[in-house]
């Protein structure tokens, strides 16, 4: 007797993945930990569109007429600010979360494109310093591998208060990925499940952060830009406090931001989307008259040149990519399918970075799996992707009549949904209505 499919009605509150999760929780008794960013439906940059040229605005010719993409980070205090050729950087991802080949590929591609990579919650590797011409060194609550020599040979320093995937949470790396090399770098026993602190050990609060930033400046003789990175929550206050604390640049990571291993509830239910976060950050900077003086780097779900252009139009100075960079390196590519199946997933659905068994060799420490990602191949993929993103952003900018991507402004955008209009403070298309705002200028 066959089942009549017309009678199968899924529950909106208890869909398949929720049922599966409750069964899993009942089996295992511990929260689900996974990689990737928020998978739920969210208002994103997709809900904004550009008002291209028409009778009232004139476009620039593609290719012939220059559309600049360069950006300088760290003009506030640093003696040696960072000059980037493109406004897209590679976000902090740890060696440990990623394998050495992946880190090297990121470095090579970034160098070829004239942009920066960032270390993560495990310290700086020789491979990354060698392969990445411009390297940002993170100072995290865990201080794994923290080293003044690395601080001094970094090009910029990023004090991490939090990340979008888990604002208020600390790093996590499961036992399988704590190999000898990772363990040595982090001063941990091999094979343990690493739990990082969620607060810095030697400062809490913006008043003490101010003093900490001063110390880092002193150690590096005021040469290098110091960024402060926050997961997007109370973004307006956080950005204002970061500026007050002395940051050269602020990095704001929306809830779509990725992670290699975090509790699913944290990823999905904490933090605000990147869309409102950009606007809040820019408003905070403008209020302090620091827009463009303290640079804003935005991350969390940046996927294409359209996202880059929209983030810049809303006021960011640059964007950072994490998940997208990994995808360029092969994450979720349909190859080695049996290995996806062995993890219980398929290409296109995989978020199993936390297992260390990445089928395409990106987020793994296992040598056989790592060998599937050749650094030169990965570098070429990522360089191509970054090139495409830049061309896309330039295309949109030129169509809006801009000779530099930084001249994009919020008025070049309209929203397709009420939520996006309210979050980005951009009018709903065809109206001059921004929910919550008085109309007019």
């Amino acid at each position: 007797m066959s089942v009549d499919p017309r009678g199968l009605r899924p529950s909106y509150s208890f869909p398949q993945h929720v049922l599966a999760e409750i069964h899993r929780a009942a089996d295992q008794g511990l929260y689900e930990i996974r990689g990737y960013g928020a998978k739920r439906h969210l208002p994103t940059f997709d809900d904004l569109v550009f008002l291209g040229a028409s009778v009232s605005r004139y476009p620039l010719e593609g290719y012939r007429e220059k559309c600049g993409t360069d950006v300088t980070i760290g003009t506030r205090f640093a003696k040696k600010p960072i000059h980037l050729k493109i406004p897209i950087t590679i976000a902090g991802m740890s060696f440990g979360a990623l394998g050495a080949n992946a880190k090297e590929a990121l470095g090579r591609a970034a160098t070829a494109m004239g942009t920066s990579t960032t270390t993560g919650d495990g310290g700086m590797t020789e491979e990354e310093r060698r392969s990445s011409k411009t390297l940002v060194y993170q100072v995290l609550p865990s201080r794994y591998g923290m080293n003044p020599d690395d601080l001094r040979r970094a090009d910029a320093i990023e004090v991490v208060v939090g990340q979008g995937a888990k604002p208020g949470g600390g790093g996590m790396l499961l036992g399988m990925k704590i190999t000898e090399r990772v363990a040595k770098m982090r001063t941990l026993p091999v094979g343990i499940d690493q739990r990082s602190a969620c607060r810095h050990p030697d400062w809490t609060g913006p008043d003490d952060l101010t003093i900490k930033i001063q110390e880092i400046r002193e150690i590096t003789d005021w040469e290098k830009p110091i960024y402060v990175k926050v997961g997007a929550t109370r973004t307006r206050y956080d950005v204002a406090l970061a500026v007050k604390a002395g940051a050269d640049a602020v990095v704001v990571d929306g809830m779509q931001g990725g992670t290699a291993a975090t509790q699913d509830v944290f990823i999905e239910h904490a933090g605000i989307p990147t869309l409102p976060a950009v606007r809040l950050a820019v408003e905070a900077l403008q209020e302090l008259d620091m827009h463009r003086k303290v640079q804003l780097i935005v991350s969390g779900g940046i996927r294409s040149g359209a996202d880059v252009a929209k983030a810049l139009a809303l006021g960011a100075d640059a964007v950072s990519i994490g998940v997208a960079a990994m995808v360029a390196l092969g994450c979720n590519r349909p190859m080695f399918i049996e290995d996806y199946h062995a993890l219980g997933t398929e290409p296109g659905f995989c978020h199993h970075c936390h297992t260390g068994k990445c089928p395409v060799g990106v987020t793994t420490q296992v040598p056989e799996l790592q060998s599937r990602l050749k650094p030169e191949q990965g570098a070429r993929w990522l360089k191509n992707y970054l090139t495409v993103m830049t061309l896309e952003a330039q295309t949109l900018a030129r169509a809006c009549g801009k000779s530099h991507v930084h001249n994009l402004e919020p008025d070049d955008l309209v929203a397709l949904t009420v939520e996006a209009a309210a979050m980005a403070k951009v009018p709903l298309a065809g109206t001059d209505w921004i929910p919550g705002q008085k109309s007019g200028y």
Partner: protein, 299 residues
């Protein structure tokens, strides 16, 4: 965010130099809070059935004496007005709630910074050194004082978010840290009749303690209750009629140093503010333990 200081002079012989010492202590916290400063000084008690209010108006040419005259007439009481820059210390031979109620109704443009029998509260924009000079703090004598320096996060055009926050006669609070459940507490306190001037978490703490004290709790009991009811990170220093109290939350990440001799007890966010106190080299110096109430009283 900020720095906090508190000084309590046990030895009456030192009281003439209260202002001198608290000035140095406050200036020591300039790096932590360069944007605005606030001080509460306990001195010159008015008689029984009288009160002292410190009021603020931004206009340096405000008609304080006229207002003082009207107040005196309305309450049928003697009024003395001592103007200091944009603050005025108003002494009234009447109860504080009557005086405050009249001012609120007839001159809502004034902000009452503090009230009681001996507490005066001064808060303004500017570097701590400038704020201290503006009100002549250095010359003040007294038994105790607490102070706060602030790093503003919003455009710094008002002192609305400045500490100390006053919530009861001769009671005020300075806070270094960040509470996490103050919004719900504010609703509860409003329900119990308290009015709020700001959305600041520190104001919630001040009114919470005033509420407990108003219910009849001793200072120590009120602070103990705070440990259960207030969530988040805090170092509090509270000034009261007879003394002062220090409390840190159970995790105690925000800094606090205490120093005590037979002559005085002092607290600050950083030791540098205590380093110039007389006899500090022989003082007992320690950092307050988490979730332990420390109180000192003249009695």
């Amino acid at each position: 965010m900020c720095g906090i200081v508190g000084l309590f002079l046990k030895n009456p012989a030192l009281r003439p130099s209260l202002g001198k010492h608290i000035k140095i202590m406050l200036i020591g916290m300039t790096d932590r809070g360069p944007d605005s400063a606030g001080i509460a000084v306990y001195h010159q008690p008015v008689g029984a059935d009288s009160c002292k209010l410190t009021a603020f108006h931004a206009d340096r040419h405000y008609h304080w004496r006229e207002v003082g005259g009207e107040l005196g007439e309305a309450l049928g009481a003697e009024v003395d007005v001592d103007v200091k820059a944009n603050h005025a210390v108003i002494k009234v031979a009447a109860g504080e709630s009557a005086a405050r109620a009249w001012l609120k109704e007839h001159h809502p443009e004034l902000r009452i910074m503090g009230y009681g029998e001996l507490m005066e509260v001064y808060k303004d924009m500017g570097l701590p050194a400038d704020v201290v000079a503006r009100y002549g703090i250095e010359a003040m004598e007294g038994s105790h004082a607490i102070g706060h320096t602030r790093m503003a996060t919003e455009s710094a055009v008002t002192t609305e978010h400045s500490h100390p926050f006053t919530a009861a006669p001769d009671m005020c609070l300075v806070h270094n840290g960040s509470l996490s459940n103050h919004n719900n507490l504010r609703k509860w306190l409003r329900h119990h009749g308290h009015d709020f001037e700001t959305d600041n978490d520190s104001e919630v703490a001040a009114r919470y303690f005033a509420h407990r004290l108003g219910e009849g709790a001793t200072l120590a009991e009120a602070l103990e209750a705070g440990l259960s009811d207030l969530d988040g990170f805090y170092t509090f220093t509270m000034g009261t009629r007879d003394g002062f109290a220090v409390l840190r939350d159970g995790i105690a990440c925000k800094p606090a140093v205490l120093a005590e001799t037979d002559d005085w007890v002092a607290m600050a966010s950083e030791f540098r503010s205590l380093a110039n106190l007389p006899g500090v080299d022989k003082a007992t110096i320690w950092e307050p333990k988490p979730a332990v109430v420390y109180t000192w009283s003249l009695q």
